[in-house]
C-alpha cells in the first residue's frame, strides 16, 4: 500500500563509534529516531542520563555568529536577477569539497571583521542621523547672521533664541516695551509653526521678561557648544554628511571584499548545524557507561540497504529488530510510484493518514489533475505553465526538483493543455481574430474541441456536477473498503455503503422521473432509497441503548443528505473558474483587437496588452485553480473517508540550508 510499512529497530553500539555512527545515520536519511525513554520496556538495563534537550551553547553561539555574518554579507552581494533571487539557489558541491572547506576555513576572523564593519557602519549611520537632526533644527535660523558664540549672555544682557506661536509678536513687543525699553526682538524666520526670534534684554528685567515670554507661549531653543553662524554650521553639516557617506561607502567596499567568504560561511553553517542536530538527537538515546541505544523506525523498503550499510561499516554495533507494541503507532512515510509522488504534498499539507487507513494520495491524484485543468481550460496557458515549470525544474533541478509542489503545478499545466484542447481554449478565442491565411489553426482547434463552454453552458455544468458526484462516491467507496479491511463489516454496511446506495438511488429516481432512464429503474431506485435511509436511521448509532434517542440520532444523521447536495453543488466552481479564464482571455483579445487599429503604435500597444493581460490571467486563474482544487479535496473529498492523525516520518538527516552535496550515498 501507499503507506510504507515500518520496521522498529534498536541500534546498540559502543560509545567509541557514536560520532561516526550518527554522521552515517544522517547521511542514510532512513531512521526516524523515537525517544528511547518513552515506551521502552527495559528501563532497568539502560537509562537515559540526561533530561530534556541537550544543547551545546558554544556550538549554538558559533552557528548564530556565522548566521549573522552571512546575513550581513548578503546585502553586499551582487543582485542575481529576479528568479535566482527568489529561489536563492543552493551551493552544489561534492563531499570532498565540502569537507575541504570545513577543514580549511576558519570563520573567526571573518565573523569578527563582519561584526566590526557592521558596528562601524551602524555608528556612522547614527552620526548621520544626529547631524541631520541638528541641521533640521538649524534650518529656520539660517538667516541669522550672527555666530552662536556671540549670542552668549554678557554681564548686562541676556540673549534668548526661540519659537513664538504665530501672529502674536507685535502684541509681545508692545507688552515688553511697556516694561522696559531695553528689549529688542529680531524676527529671524516666519514659519507655519510660529515666529523664530532672537530676544535681547537687560538683565535687570530678566525675570519679568522671562515670565512675559512664558505667558505668550515662547519656547526657548538652545544650541550649546556651537561655533559659527547657523549657515556655517549648516554647511559644515552638509560636508560632514558627505564625508560620513564616503566612509560608509568605504566600509561597503571592505565588506564587498569579504563577500567571497560567504559560500565558505554557508558550508560551515550547514556543517555545524548538522553537528548540532546530532547533539540534540542524543537526548533521545538510552545510555549506559559504555554503550548507547538508539530506538527508531526504518521504512521496510530501506531496511536491507540500511542494515547492510551499518553492519558493513561498524563492528561494535548490534542492529536489533524490535517488536512493535500495541499502543505504539509507527510514523507515517508515504511511498508511492513516481508519477503519484508529487501529489503526496496535497496529503501532507492536510495531515498524515493514520496507520490504519489508506494513503489518499493515489486516489486524489487523477482528480486533482483533471480539476486543475478544468479550472484553467486553456491549452495555450497550459503550454506556458508546462514550459515554465519544465524550464525551472531543469535549471534548478537540485533545489526545486525536491519540491513536490513544483511537479504538481507542472502536471496541472499538462492537464490544462488537455482540457483547453477539449474546450477549444487557445488564449481564449484568439483564433477568431486570425487572418484567413491561418484558417488551418481554426480547423485544428475544431478537430480537438469536444464542446464549447460558451455555447454549451449546460454541458460544462453537467461535467462539473458529474465529476463531483463521482469523487464523492469514490470517497465513500474508499471508506467502505477501509472498514472491511479493518474487519468492521457492520460499520461498512451501515454507514458508507448505505450512503453510497442512497445517493446513487436518488439519482436513479431523479433520472427515472425525467425519463432519461426507463421508468422501472425508478421503482427500484425508490425501494433502494427507502431501504438505505432506513438503514441509516436505524443503524448509524448502534451503541446508544435508548432506542428513541438512537433513532433520533439516526434521523439527524439522515438530514446530512443536504450536505451531500451542497458538496456536489460546490463542484460547480470548476465550471465557474473555467468560464472565468475563458471570458477574461476573450476580453484581453477583444481589447487587443481594438488597439491594433491605432495608427503607428497599434502593434506595440497590442503586444504589451496581450502579454500583460494573458500573463495576469494565467497567474490569477492558476492560483484560483490550485486553491479551489485543493479546497474541493480538503472540504468535499477528504471528509468522506479520511481520518488522519498520523505523525509524519522525519528521518534523522542533515537538513542543509545552503548546500547540496551531490555524491550522496543513496
Amino acid at each position: 500500500m501507499a503507506i510504507s510499512p515500518m520496521k522498529k529497530v534498536n541500534i546498540i553500539a559502543h560509545r567509541g563509534i557514536q560520532a561516526d555512527l550518527l554522521q552515517r545515520l544522517q547521511d542514510l536519511e532512513a531512521l526516524h529516531i523515537s525517544d528511547f525513554r518513552e515506551g521502552s520496556t527495559d528501563q532497568g538495563k539502560a537509562t537515559s542520563h540526561k533530561n530534556g534537550e541537550v544543547t551545546d551553547e558554544r556550538l549554538e553561539a558559533r552557528i548564530s555568529n556565522i548566521q549573522s555574518a552571512i546575513n550581513y554579507l548578503s546585502q553586499f552581494e551582487e543582485s542575481r536577477g529576479l528568479i535566482s533571487g527568489v529561489l536563492s539557489p543552493k551551493i552544489i558541491l561534492s563531499r570532498e569539497q565540502f569537507q575541504r572547506v570545513v577543514d580549511a576555513f576558519d570563520e573567526v576572523a571573518v565573523v569578527q571583521q563582519c561584526r566590526d564593519l557592521e558596528k562601524e557602519a551602524n555608528d556612522l549611520f547614527s552620526e548621520i542621523g544626529r547631524v541631520e537632526f541638528l541641521m533640521d533644527q538649524l534650518t529656520p535660523w539660517i538667516d541669522l547672521d550672527v555666530p552662536f558664540e556671540d549670542l552668549a549672555p554678557t554681564e548686562y544682557t541676556t540673549t534668548l533664541l526661540g519659537l513664538l506661536p504665530p501672529k502674536i509678536l507685535p502684541d509681545l513687543r508692545m507688552k515688553a516695551l511697556n516694561l522696559t525699553e531695553t528689549f529688542e526682538v529680531v524676527n529671524v524666520h516666519q514659519g507655519k509653526e510660529g515666529t523664530y526670534l532672537v530676544a535681547i534684554f537687560h538683565n535687570a528685567f530678566k525675570q519679568d521678561l522671562l515670565d512675559l515670554l512664558k505667558g505668550f507661549g515662547f519656547e526657548e531653543m538652545k544650541f550649546p557648544d556651537l561655533k559659527g553662524t547657523p549657515r556655517e554650521i549648516y554647511q559644515r553639516g552638509i560636508s560632514r554628511i558627505r564625508e560620513l557617506r564616503q566612509m560608509i561607502h568605504t566600509i561597503g567596499e571592505k565588506s564587498r571584499a569579504l563577500v567571497h567568504h560567504r559560500h565558505n560561511l554557508q558550508v560551515l553553517y550547514d556543517n555545524l548545524s548538522s553537528q548540532l542536530q546530532r547533539k540534540k538527537a542524543e537526548c533521545h538515546f538510552g545510555q549506559t557507561s559504555d554503550t548507547f541505544v538508539i530506538e527508531g523506525w526504518v521504512p521496510a523498503g530501506k531496511w536491507p540497504n540500511f542494515q547492510e550499510q551499518l553492519n558493513g561499516e561498524f563492528d561494535e554495533l548490534a542492529l536489533v529488530e524490535a517488536e512493535q507494541m500495541d499502543r505504539e503507532t509507527p510514523p507515517i512515510c508515504l511511498d508511492n510510484p513516481k508519477p503519484i509522488r508529487p501529489f503526496e504534498v496535497i496529503t501532507e499539507l492536510y495531515g498524515m493518514p493514520n496507520s490504519r487507513e489508506f494513503d489518499p494520495s493515489p486516489f486524489l491524484a487523477p482528480f486533482f489533475f483533471i480539476f486543475f485543468g478544468l479550472c484553467l481550460t486553456d491549452a495555450a496557458y497550459g503550454i506556458i505553465i508546462t514550459a515554465t515549470f519544465l524550464f525551472l525544474l531543469k535549471k534548478y533541478r537540485a533545489t526545486l526538483g525536491k519540491i513536490k509542489l513544483m511537479w504538481v503545478l507542472l502536471f496541472g499545466g499538462i492537464s490544462a493543455i488537455f482540457m483547453g484542447a477539449i474546450t477549444g481554449g487557445w488564449f481564449g478565442d484568439l483564433v477568431n481574430y486570425l487572418p484567413p491565411s491561418l484558417n488551418f489553426l481554426k480547423k485544428g482547434r475544431e478537430v480537438l474541441m469536444v464542446f464549447n463552454p460558451m455555447d454549451q453552458v449546460m454541458t460544462f455544468i453537467l461535467i462539473a456536477l458529474i465529476l463531483g458526484f463521482i469523487q464523492i462516491c469514490f470517497g465513500l467507496v474508499i471508506r467502505t473498503v477501509r472498514n472491511i479491511r479493518n474487519g468492521d463489516l457492520v460499520e461498512a454496511l451501515c454507514s458508507p455503503l448505505a450512503w453510497l446506495i442512497l445517493i446513487n438511488s436518488i439519482v436513479l429516481v431523479f433520472l427515472g422521473y425525467k425519463g432519461t432512464l426507463p421508468p422501472f429503474l425508478k421503482t427500484i431506485g425508490l425501494a433502494m432509497v427507502g431501504l438505505s435511509s432506513l438503514t441509516i436511521v436505524l443503524f448509524t448509532d448502534r451503541t446508544t441503548p435508548n432506542r428513541i434517542l438512537r433513532i433520533a440520532w439516526g434521523v439527524f444523521e439522515l438530514y446530512g443528505i443536504t450536505s451531500y447536495l451542497g458538496d456536489v453543488l460546490s463542484y460547480l466552481r470548476l465550471f465557474a473558474l473555467g468560464l472565468a479564464t475563458a471570458v477574461v482571455a476573450m476580453v484581453v483579445n477583444l481589447l487587443g483587437s481594438m488597439v491594433l487599429s491605432w495608427p503607428y503604435v497599434g502593434w506595440a500597444v497590442f503586444i504589451l496588452l496581450f502579454t500583460i493581460g494573458h500573463l495576469f490571467n494565467i497567474v490569477i486563474n492558476g492560483l484560483g485553480a490550485f486553491v479551489h482544487t485543493l479546497r474541493l479535496h480538503y472540504v468535499e473529498f477528504f471528509p468522506k473517508f479520511f481520518q488522519g492523525g498520523g505523525k509524519p516520518f522525519r528521518p534523522f538527516q542533515k537538513n542543509p540550508k545552503y548546500t547540496i552535496i551531490t555524491d550522496g550515498l543513496q
Binding site: V86, L349, N432, V457, I461, L569, S570, L572, R573, F575, A576, L577, L579, A580, V583, V584, M586, V587, L590, I620, L623, G624, V627, H628, L630, R631, Y634, V635
Partner: protein
C-alpha cells in the same frame, strides 16, 4: 415593444462590476495591511503571504466576468447589438445582482479571514495552506453568486 436602449442592462453590468470590485479592494486591503505588518518583521515571507493577500481579488474578477457576460449578451463585444424590450432589460439587470452582492460582501469578509490567516502563518508558517482553505470557503458564496448570474443570463431569451 420598441427598443428602449441599454440603460437598464448597463446599470446591471455596472453594479456587478463595481460592487465586486469594491468587495475585492476592501478585502485585499485588509489582508494586505496584515501582511505588511508581518513583512516588517520578516520580509522573506512575501511570496507565501502573497497568496493570502490576493485571494480576495477573485471576487472582482467574478464581477468583471458578470459585467462582460452582460455585454456579450447584448452583443456589444464582437457581435451585432440586440434589441431589447423592457422586460428583458430588467431581467438582465436582476441577473447581474447575485454576482455583485455576493462578491461584495464575501470579498470584504474573505479579506478578514485572510488577514487572520496571515497572522496565523506569521507565527506558524506550516499552517499557511489551512488559512488559504478557510479563505477559499468564504469565496464559495461568491462563486455561487456568479453561477446564478450566469445561469440567469443564459436563460433570458432575446
Amino acid at each position: 415593444m420598441d427598443f428602449i436602449g441599454y440603460a437598464i442592462p448597463f446599470a446591471g453590468a455596472a453594479i456587478a462590476i463595481f460592487l465586486a470590485g469594491f468587495g475585492s479592494s476592501v478585502g485585499i486591503s485588509t489582508a494586505g495591511q496584515a501582511a505588511d505588518g508581518v513583512l516588517t518583521e520578516d520580509p522573506d515571507k512575501f511570496p507565501s503571504l502573497l497568496i493570502l493577500v490576493v485571494l480576495p481579488g477573485t471576487q472582482g474578477i467574478y464581477g468583471l466576468l458578470g459585467g462582460f457576460l452582460i455585454m456579450f449578451k447584448l452583443g456589444l463585444l464582437g457581435g451585432t447589438p440586440v434589441s431589447l424590450n423592457l422586460v428583458q432589460s430588467w431581467q438582465i439587470f436582476f441577473a447581474a445582482l447575485p454576482v455583485g452582492f455576493a462578491s461584495w460582501i464575501s470579498g470584504i469578509h474573505q479579506g478578514k479571514v485572510c488577514a487572520a490567516g496571515v497572522a496565523m502563518a506569521a507565527r506558524r508558517p506550516e499552517t499557511l495552506m489551512k488559512g488559504v482553505i478557510y479563505g477559499a470557503m468564504v469565496e464559495t458564496y461568491a462563486i455561487f453568486g456568479l453561477i446564478t448570474t450566469i445561469l440567469l443570463l443564459w436563460s433570458i431569451k432575446i
